[in-house]
Symmetry: D2
Subunit: 343 residues, 4 copies
């Protein structure tokens, strides 16, 4: 049994734990593992390294991916699909574990269904917005980083009696904003799933001020949308065809709105790539390892076209084709619990 | 609506998040909250402080409990039960949220069923060994602390070519040992649920050595049991009636066994109270908050005799009487996944 | 003896340690301390709180300043100077400890020399660029934050084979950039004290690439200046009268230059307020405490017009008037040591 | 120019920064570096690895030493000295940089003065107790670890109204205890340099209790000595010829004394190896790097028999023979400043 692995899309803490898990299981069963480099690009070119437990044992605490990554999508160029098929033959691969988000898994699913390649998927999205699994690795590390950053920023906000707007990841789903807002005791948060009521936000911030709290924290998903009625659209803030303020710099925009309406010094901070970097949390190391172990077991059982997923406290296998393209929005129950703190 | 809160038993990161959640929900509904001090002792004496959102808002990032704790059990002294009933009357309490482990919740359950007091429970055990809930707050912080400690200790072990035995909490269940061993890439771990095969451990450590890894990490639950056959019982190591080495200093003992069998310098470290201290992780802050919000909702609905619990991704209410005294051992599926790394 | 304290200018980890040190010393001697709120504004209005050791004991681990801060400069308005003199009388102050940077200490110095007020100064600049003291508190916390951020960002840069430009504080001096570049093993750094040779930077980055290192880290002071000859001035990059690229977004600019010249994906990150927030490092807590203790001793000895400062391993008192307006640039010896890594 | 490096004695965060600094400087000058493995043992056997900047570049953030360490002292066996001389010849070494504490540097000094070998020393002691240098690397990381541990332990002490005794490193000098006590706001600390007045400690703890602080923190150097008059010597506590309680378990002993005298639950924690592990602080990475760079420069200048040292903000070279065997005790000025908090 010879198993290939690759990682695609944006990097995420826990990727190396998955790799380590697969490699260990395959080695225990007497098989061999190789790593294709830089996502599907490695599957096209055949560029790879050998993976042994001795090599992957110490990577459990490393962020990112030792295999490198790219956003290469071979289905944009039919020749590249043929090259991937050739790579399987050239390298003698009995299975491929593809670890990635929607794009990477979409390619994996089509290679299985259209080309019959022995592919297994492992989900990865730092935004936690994949419906087929209860939680994705990297998300837990991310919310801890955001929380620690806000713990730091709070003392400056408090010393200078400011309001601070923190823009976090989440283009389509508000999991990161909602979780980190609860965890950091923020005064307000905004998510893509709900249209933001600017008046409500100002009222909450003013209420806190009136109660004697002389600073404020607002957490905003990068994908949050402001309504033009409630919002405060500046000249340089573009509005799309639906009247929503366009993506990009939403944190800066919200800060301007607050400062303008309340007359209180307000600053915005964009955490950016800090949110996806560094050593994984214990949860993400454990989740990544468990997914890798199960992916390895699927390979040994030749149970292809599946994706490993977390359901409750268990790791299960789901159909790869069902797992792709199904976004998981922030659940109403979460939002409602969190909304108790927006009063 | 006037709601009392108390925290009992060993402290745990996330207790303050629960308190903050209850207080906010009750305040949003126009009610009042008070904190009874030092566990059931405060319910007996009536010693308390007022809790407002302004006071509890900033405690989300604090470890321990602002209410203090104790191991007082009023059912050992009938007079104290009467005093608790009186306290309810004196303070005009409409509900009591008791946050604690088996002991605290056992008292809560009996006060509800035997005395008809309006009690709601919230589970707390850093060992994660309560069957009525999928995960308890504090556990996530704990395994991160253990993992970070092992990340630190590893460099010393490696520099001096040593084997290091790390004794962690877990008197009856191996969740902490198993999770932290996976997360830190340990070479072996021991849990109370399985009798330890000393020979297997030595074989694994020797195999790693033979492969060129010149140090080793072993994680041991404080409640792990060594077999006298496989084990190496020193003169000062007592054996109980079942032939198991008695609790206490199991880490030191295992280190001696390894050093004696392998002839390699071996040290043991007991992490002790470090494991339950400090600022909670994001997960524990969110879980604590959600449990607190739900406990507050139960109080508002006068739905007593219940305990809040986590099931999958949701918070639910279970019968308090069913929740007590049911230990949750390390699941076989977890152990088996982890066991891939004990080879 | 009644002593007032105030904190002015940007907040800095360690301010609360200074406050705690002064308050403890004054209390030990039987005196009283009060805190004037929000910098010189509090000295003008008399707005203050009482400070006791019981109150200030637990603030050692808190970032920012419990007294609040502002950039109020009373010498811009003579009436305010009179109000400050009145405040001394109204509150019965025997001494004032002013903790702040050049602006705050400049006011303190003039209040002493021109108005004869009993003032003692304590230096604060996160940039470490004050000539009268070997090191300022806050700087050590800052370089640890930058280092940890780069440790995080490195895994993403490595996974995606990118070059990463990190813009750090330092408008006039390169201490933060130089120290954090050494501490994080960066490939290049730029400071305000030296004109940047773009060609040299590109050569170093290319040399690393050729040696097989597939990512790069560049640290840039916000005040670094690019030469127009060596640099790559885009249309929207303004040049000042000396031909230097103007301040603001220097990190973004450098990233564009690198991407343009090398054809390698390059991103920039600006750490911003994260650099001055959060719990102080051990060094800054100890330095802040020692400075506070000495400032308290000066007050008890009525030794006014002085500033406490660090020289070697000792805390000494220097003339306040000599301490102001003397910038401490990055020493050549530091730069030369660090420059070994720019090859 | 071919330079050998070795690291001896207990590991310390920052050792790898020194190694990296030497290797880079030698490489910049066109020379070669090799690492002798496991302290003087490697110099005896010739067991070594090649060191290139590409190999040592990424080790800046790693604790411990990539060269391994041992406590081997070749002067106990004349044959081994001859073997070291042979190793210099066999490997063609033009210089040796020995990084270690008193023992390692004592050997280095004798190899230079008695055998004429081209040796340069670099000081290493986590206890910060070497007189020839203002501060040693590793110490800063250590006090941050102790401080963070106490920050964690404090919440448990507070929740349970306990007194907590924390035993830290420092067999002969109290730098670690004094610094970490100040940094963590401890109520009392004990160092080897001063005989402990138990009555004074109890008085301070009682005073805090009377003022309403319901917990306490005491930091104790492992080498602190209790007087039998003031102390409370239990049966199993041995007293030496001077009437001092013998070393070992001093923390446990102090906890027993406090609990016995005050009737308050008191626990002790020994931080042990945690104090010397893990990624170095920014200060230690910078100090280690600077020492390494200077050691490299000495080698290039063939300036042997010297040790690099920190004096004020500068790195200087001192005579190796003068640097050894001179302990640096906790300075009185430090103790007196800290003593303000023991009231």
């Amino acid at each position: 049994m010879k198993v290939g692995l690759l990682t695609g899309g944006g990097d995420c803490p826990g990727l190396n734990a998955v790799i380590r898990g697969v490699v260990k299981v395959i080695d225990n069963a007497g098989g061999k593992s190789i790593g294709l480099l830089e996502g599907w690009r490695g599957a096209i070119t055949g560029n790879h390294i050998e993976l042994t437990p001795k090599f992957t044992d110490p990577i459990i605490d490393k962020g990112g991916t030792i295999l490198g990554s790219s956003r290469t999508n071979p289905f944009k160029n039919p020749t590249e699909i043929d090259q991937i098929v050739e790579t399987f033959g050239n390298l003698g691969l009995d299975a491929l574990v593809a670890i990635g988000g929607d794009d990477t898994l979409g390619v994996a699913s089509k290679l299985y269904s259209e080309k019959g390649l022995p592919v297994i998927g492992c989900p990865k999205t730092i935004d936690n917005d994949l419906s087929a699994t209860d939680q994705t690795f990297g998300f837990d590390t991310c919310i801890n980083i955001v929380m620690e950053a806000i713990d730091r920023l709070r003392t400056t906000a408090e010393s200078h009696r400011r309001i601070l707007v923190v823009e976090v990841m989440g283009r389509h789903a508000g999991w990161i904003a909602c979780y980190s807002a609860i965890a950091s005791g923020a005064d307000y948060f905004m998510v893509p799933e709900r249209e933001v009521n600017i008046k409500e936000m100002i009222d909450v911030l003013q209420k806190r001020r009136d109660e004697g709290k002389n600073y404020g924290i607002v957490v905003v998903s990068e994908g949050a949308k402001l309504n033009t009625d409630g919002g405060f659209v500046t000249k340089d803030q573009e509005v799309d065809e639906f009247g929503h303020v366009k993506l990009g710099g939403i944190g800066d925009h919200v800060a301007k709105v607050i400062e303008n309406r309340m007359g209180i010094e307000t600053r915005s901070v964009t955490l950016g790539h800090l949110q996806r970097g560094g050593t994984p949390s214990a949860f993400d190391r454990v989740l990544g390892t468990r997914l890798g172990v199960h992916a390895g077991h699927l390979a040994l059982k030749k149970d292809f076209g599946k994706m490993v997923a977390m359901r409750g406290t268990q790791i299960v296998a789901v159909e790869l084709k069902d797992a792709v393209d199904q976004m998981r929005e922030l659940e109403d129950s979460f939002f409602d619990e969190a909304a108790e703190f927006l009063k």
